[in-house]
């Protein structure tokens, strides 16, 4: 079989094709096509000369995320409990930023499209006021007259009793059989009316958009002879069949970052590092995530932007506005700031020659010799290094009393410090010591900064995958099918009877199995991961506790919670009862795993001899540094720092004292040298 992973990113559409029979790998990188991403996908398929009748495609798309952020969404209607149509507009009474009272917020569904009907269920699930389906039918017709394309049904307390939501959905389908109907309780069976309602509204808003896009893409593919199932990447790091993807379209939001993390997790696990921090540095931002035992941590509390919570399980990615294009400037306090403002792709960094005038992280790397002036992909018109250096000296160096090169070094240090902070927030701040993890660096700029970051954080090893610029496409190739189920329990642990937890978890597995059968995708095996969300009685936040065993009894559950609580807060509270709030099961349909060794780059074997040398700056000062070509380094090859390893779309910097070794899958495994740990510049570079 031939499998294709194709990921559409902000700038590039990446594709990896792996042919099992010949163990051959082909890759393509083409510009993303804005309005219809399918064009870029087809273009990439042509580049690798894929025979559509013989391949299976896994596709990652930013269609839904972009639609939300740009508000190019379907016109939605809402039918909700009488008295509560403004819940989606009032939110949780916040403001966009802690300080400053100027801002704006537009709900996804405008007020004139929100209709109330008589019905009420209380917190115990008792019906206080019955639902009249005729009233729902009328509401649907009124909303359709106002141009509704997608409907949300959202009633109070539907997480405990969904009968009214289901009856209303049935009524809606009677008068609008072809309609697109989302009910809140089907997506999130957890209390919190705003979050559940927004999650449902998000789903409704992007469902027609996704259905149109996938429909068009599938049609184009079929017309060209594609026969197999099309799988779509989701934000939980798993895939789902195109047949059912639109029903829970919200699950595809943030699937881009998730596929990168999945690739990082599986690559690291296969290389022998089940615990990892993934670090994806791109042009405008950096994403970091924590991976334990080969599985990325998942959260149900993602907030896509201000007041847009999405409460379905997604890979827990922490994003900060620091990337290659981040702008460096001096603020009014005379302090150097890097990001979050970005030069973007246009005008871009100064070195792109597209009119950029503000110095960026990429410019700093160039001036310090860490990037190859001749190897940049995005350059329109080459800008002389002297001009960049002069610009750095002027805008950053001047106010700080530094020359251009020292200013560049300062920019790197501040940028690295911010990224190290992000990694601390996903590790240390959650009770994990970064020193127990390997740092998996990818994205255009990740490998450039990773070794310095690892040193800063005391992380002993860095892994740079064979194709750091194609990680998202690789994630598509590698990801399994996955469905997540959450059930609210809300019971004191001591009141839980034997077999209670197991019976819920087993029913979740059955639900997942049924869904996988509906998808009819090819899987080798079915695996379930379980966790509990718990708290002490009276708290409102939850702590996630991994459940190794389905048949867990109350004593073991109590102990697991206490241990997790201690790890996180170093607090023991024997005085207070523990409560089991939610049970969560991820049902994973394992797909056949392609051998990662196929990724080991082919190219002329240059042995371990550098292809050139140049002056590169490190914390210790300037060093005449050997430059290697990544494709020439075969498994087993070792390179001692200082060194720079270049490939088409990424550059890896090996710091002095560190050593890189190519493993059998073509990964570079960098061991941070003795005396690792943070290192301060001995002197300003000159």
């Amino acid at each position: 079989m031939t499998i294709v992973g194709c990921d559409v990113g902000g700038t590039f559409t990446d594709l990896i094709l792996y042919d099992e029979a010949s163990d051959e790998l082909r890759v393509a990188k083409v510009p993303t096509t804005g309005d219809n991403q399918a064009e870029g996908v087809l273009e990439a398929l042509e580049r690798v000369e894929a025979r559509l009748s013989e391949i299976a495609i896994v596709h990652g798309t930013t269609t839904t995320t972009n639609a939300l952020l740009e508000r190019k969404i379907a016109r939605c209607g809402l039918i909700t409990t009488r008295g509560f149509r403004d819940v989606l507009e009032l939110g949780r009474r916040t403001r966009p930023r802690p300080y400053g009272l100027i801002g704006s917020f537009e709900p996804l569904i405008p007020r004139e499209m929100r209709v109330e009907v008589d019905e009420r269920i209380d917190a115990e699930g008792e019906v206080l006021r019955p639902l009249d389906p005729a009233e729902v039918e009328k509401a649907v017709e009124d909303l359709r007259a106002k141009g509704m394309e997608s409907l949300v049904i959202h009633f109070l307390h539907s997480y405990i009793n969904s009968a009214h939501e289901e009856a209303a959905a049935a009524a809606a389908r009677r008068v609008w059989p072809e309609g697109c109907v989302t009910i809140g309780s089907a997506l999130v069976s957890e209390f919190r009316e705003y979050e559940r309602g927004v999650t449902a509204a998000v789903n409704a808003a992007i469902r027609p958009v996704l259905a149109r896009y996938i429909g068009r893409l599938e049609e184009e593919l079929r017309r060209r002879g594609y026969r197999r199932d099309l799988l779509i990447m989701q934000g939980n790091g798993g895939t789902v069949s195109a047949r059912i993807v639109a029903e829970a379209a919200v699950n595809t939001v943030m699937s881009g970052p998730a596929s990168g993390v999945i690739a990082a997790a599986l690559t690291a696990e296969e290389a022998g590092f089940p615990d990892a921090v993934s670090y994806d540095m791109g042009g405008t931002s950096s994403d970091v995530a924590l991976i334990r035992s080969g599985v990325p941590l998942v959260t149900s509390e993602t907030e896509l932007e201000y007041a847009m919570p999405i409460h379905v399980p997604m890979v827990d990615v922490h994003t900060i506005g620091a990337g290659g294009g981040s702008i460096a400037r001096i603020d009014e306090a005379g302090l150097l700031r890097v990001g979050p403002e970005s030069a973007g792709a246009v005008p871009g960094p100064i070195c792109f020659g597209r009119g950029g005038t503000q110095p960026t992280v990429t410019d700093a790397n160039l001036v310090l010799g860490r990037l190859n002036h001749d190897g940049l992909l995005a350059v329109r018109q080459k800008v002389p290094i002297e001009a960049i250096r002069a610009r750095l000296a002027e805008s950053v160096g001047g106010p700080l009393g530094l020359d251009g090169e020292a200013a560049a070094a300062a920019i790197l240090r501040v940028a690295n410090d911010r990224m190290a902070g992000a990694i601390r927030m996903v590790s240390l701040a959650r009770g994990h010591d970064p020193r127990d993890f390997v740092l998996v660096a990818f994205g255009g700029a990740g490998p450039l900064h990773a070794a310095a970051l690892a040193r800063e954080l005391g992380i002993p090893r860095v892994l740079v995958p064979a194709r750091p610029g194609l990680t998202n496409a690789l994630g598509c190739v590698l990801a399994d099918l996955r469905h997540d189920f959450v059930r609210s329990v809300n019971k004191p642990v001591q009141a839980i009877e034997d077999g209670f937890v197991a019976s819920i978890l087993e029913s979740q597995i059955e639900e997942g199995r049924a869904l996988l059968e509906r998808e009819a995708a090819e899987i080798d095996d079915l695996v379930a991961l379980h966790r509990a969300e718990m708290q002490f009685e009276g708290q409102s936040h939850l702590l996630s506790v991994e459940l190794p065993d389905r048949a867990i009894g109350r004593e073991a559950l109590q102990r697991a919670f206490e241990a997790a609580y201690w790890r996180r807060f170093e607090v023991a509270l024997p005085e207070i009862r523990a409560v089991l709030v939610n049970l969560h099961t991820a049902v994973i349909g394992k797909r056949r795993r392609i051998p990662l060794t196929a990724l080991a780059t082919a190219g002329p074997d240059s042995g371990e001899t550098p292809v050139s040398r140049r002056r590169v700056w490190f914390a210790e000062g300037w060093a005449d540094t050997p430059i290697y070509r990544r494709g020439g380094l075969r498994p087993g090859a070792t390179v001692a720092g200082p060194a720079v390893i270049e490939q088409m779309d990424a550059t890896t910097v090996i710091e002095p004292g560190d050593e890189a070794r190519v493993d059998k899958a073509g990964n570079l495994v960098i061991t941070i040298g003795e005396g690792g740990g943070p290192r301060l510049p001995k002197a300003a570079p000159s």
Binding site: G83, F84, D86, V87, E89, L90, G91, R92, R93, T94, R95, P98, Y99, G100, L101, I102, G103, S104, F105, R111, R120, D122, A123, L128, H157, Y159, F191, R192, E193, E195, D331, E332, A333, G334, L335, L336, R337, L400, A410, R413, V414, D417, R418, M425, L428, A429, F536, E537, G538, Q539, S540, H541, R568, F569, E570, V571, L573, E575, I576, L680
Partner: protein
């Protein structure tokens, strides 16, 4: 300066992260929903001898911006020979506090055996005893009626919790059973801060961090001065009113004279009303903090440390209700008076730099407490509701609706959670139509809710404000609508005599409480508002057709579109009539 500028930035970020981690741990481990959901807490690092602020978490409650340095200083003055592992507890309002419910933990931080700094945090406990559950007594006349007042005492001695002090506290507060969880959470946050700060100092060295701290203070002052320099020199007046003190039914005035000279701002509040009998007095720490947070709302980019406040000179308003002394009751200072002080600052600065300001926000925390016993569970409960309101319009944008209080960053508790925990049922939770003040950029809208008691008897208390005077409009914009409270008992409506404040109103099953919070003030003349936006607002039901005509001079046709000619005529006629009236 010998410290290099890059290390300086890195240490600044490092200190900030230490505080952010404390904030995060405290919120996630807390039990009091006022802390865990409403984020009514703050964590910071303070100078070892002066208590001056070194760094504070980004997500700390704004009103604590300045107050914790005063309470830390009070602890330092009394702490004899602090030892590692000690933690002082204090909530005395007159020793650099706010109201009694804000409980501070203050811990000496040692590095290699030497006192380096203090770590402190504040958390709002749900009850500290006193006349009414929750502590917001609307008609207390002395602080003893408001609850248990703790001077700085060492709750932890070298890491060991003092069970005797704890038993005194627990014997004096309601719903004591979960407070041990909050105490441990509050202490755990400081322990995490200790660990991270140690790592930072180990990394860069004590001398370098020390030097960075004083340099960062100077830089913050420099940055604040750069902002102030953009304000034209001059003297500006700002004024605002508290409805009443809860005891005597007459307004309290805040009168601010703001003088700007060079890079300094001078705040004179001495013409404000004298101390009041009821709980609307403000202690000096809260008064100063309110000025700080108001300025920070106008210049949000400036980081917070002691240097930020150096160019802000606030004379103690001796003899006014803004400099309350023992035993004046103060429960309204943190939540309400603070916001009126901020509004006086906004009004004064609005004359100087109108394009960067905004009309007044709703400015009340909307505290509504309901205490009773649930016959179904047999347990006592205290339910709190806080509410947002409309923000003021500004030069380019309408105000947002249901924004949180000026001094807070709190989220409201989900209605579903409230109904799970308390014997109440919401009948409505809606946008308060028409409440936003008219303006070229209109104010945002408040919220209107109705909540019914399902079983048992209960007592309702309110500490809100802006019931008599709506949030002020700016630059010709109209005021936002006032706050309204109605208690519907046995089918009859009761409106509190003081409108926004009352306590202990007995209600029974089937009775309900209806609250409507203020809309924000409008910005700029309403007749200059784009008629298309007015038409949109009418289609959305924000305003009625009649309001569009009366308040914005916009006439709509049958299809709800703007009648251009009639609108022009109406606007001209109204304007000339208004002019004639003025003459």
């Amino acid at each position: 300066m010998t410290i290099d500028p890059i290390t300086l930035v890195v240490i600044q970020n490092g200190l900030q992260q230490v505080c952010n981690e404390m904030d995060l741990a405290f919120v996630r481990a807390a039990f009091s929903p006022v802390i865990s959901e409403a984020l009514d807490r703050s964590d910071g690092i303070y100078h070892r001898t002066t208590g001056a602020l070194i760094a504070q978490g980004d997500l700390g409650l704004p009103v604590f911006v300045g107050t914790m340095q005063f309470s830390t200083a009070a602890v330092i003055a009394r702490a004899k020979s602090p030892r590692p592992g000690d933690i002082w507890i204090v909530n005395d309002p007159y020793l650099g506090g706010t109201h009694l419910m804000d409980v501070k933990f203050v811990k000496p931080f040692f590095h290699r055996g030497r006192l380096f700094a203090w770590l402190a945090n504040t958390g709002h406990w749900p009850d500290l005893g006193g006349a009414v559950p929750g502590g917001f007594s609307a008609n207390a006349t002395e602080v003893e009626q408001e609850g248990l007042r703790l001077p700085p005492v060492r709750l932890y001695k070298e890491g060991v919790l003092d069970e005797e002090i704890l038993s005194i506290i627990f014997s004096n507060i309601r719903i004591a059973d979960q407070r041990i969880g909050d105490i441990k959470a509050q202490a755990a946050a400081l322990a995490i801060g200790e660990k991270r700060l140690t790592a930072l100092i180990e990394r860069y060295g004590e001398d370098v961090v020390e030097e960075a701290i004083s340099e960062l203070e100077a830089r913050a002052a420099q940055q604040m001065r750069a902002k102030i320099a953009t304000v034209p020199d001059g003297v500006y007046e700002g004024e605002s009113f508290v409805d009443s003190d809860g005891v005597e039914d007459r307004p309290l005035r805040i009168a601010l004279t703001l003088r700007k000279a060079g890079t300094e701002l001078y705040f004179d509040l001495s013409r404000s009303s004298p101390p009041c009998r009821g709980p609307m007095n403000s202690v000096i720490a809260t008064t100063k903090s309110s000025v700080y947070l108001a300025v920070k709302h106008v210049f949000p980019e400036v980081p917070i440390n002691a240097g930020t406040f150096q160019p802000l000179h606030i004379a103690d308003p001796v003899g006014t209700f803004l400099d309350a002394r023992y035993p004046r009751p103060v429960s309204g200072c943190a939540a309400e008076v603070s916001q009126r002080i901020a509004e006086a600052v906004f009004a004064a600065l609005g004359q100087a730099i109108p394009d960067r300001l905004f009309a007044a926000p709703a400015g009340t925390s909307g505290n509504f407490a309901l205490g009773g016993s649930d016959p179904k569970t047999g347990r006592n409960y205290v339910m709190y509701l806080i509410s947002g309101g409309g923000y003021g319009g500004s030069a380019r944008l309408d105000g947002i609706s249901n924004g949180c209080s000026t001094i807070g960053i709190s989220k409201t508790t989900p209605l579903e959670v409230i109904e799970q925990r308390y014997p109440v049922l919401f009948e409505e939770y809606a946008l308060a139509e028409g409440s936003g003040g008219a303006g070229r950029q209109r104010g945002g809208f408040g919220v209107r809710y109705a909540v019914r008691l399902r079983r048992g008897e209960a007592r309702a208390s309110f500490v809100m404000d802006h019931g008599r005077f709506g949030p002020q409009g700016a630059q010709g914009g109209a005021d936002g609508r006032v706050n309204r409270v109605t208690v519907r008992r046995n089918g009859e409506d009761y409106v509190p005599p003081h409108l926004s404040k009352d306590q202990g109103i007995a209600i029974g099953p089937g009775d309900s409480v209806i609250v409507e919070t203020p809309g924000g003030g409008g910005f700029g003349p309403p007749f200059e508002r784009d008629p298309a936006l007015v038409a949109r607002d009418v289609r959305r039901g924000y305003y009625t057709r009649a309001e569009a005509e009366e308040r914005f001079g916009v006439v709509l046709d049958a299809g709800m579109e703007v009648d251009v000619a009639a609108t022009a005529e109406r606007r001209v006629r109204f304007t000339t009539e208004a002019q004639r009236q003025r003459e």
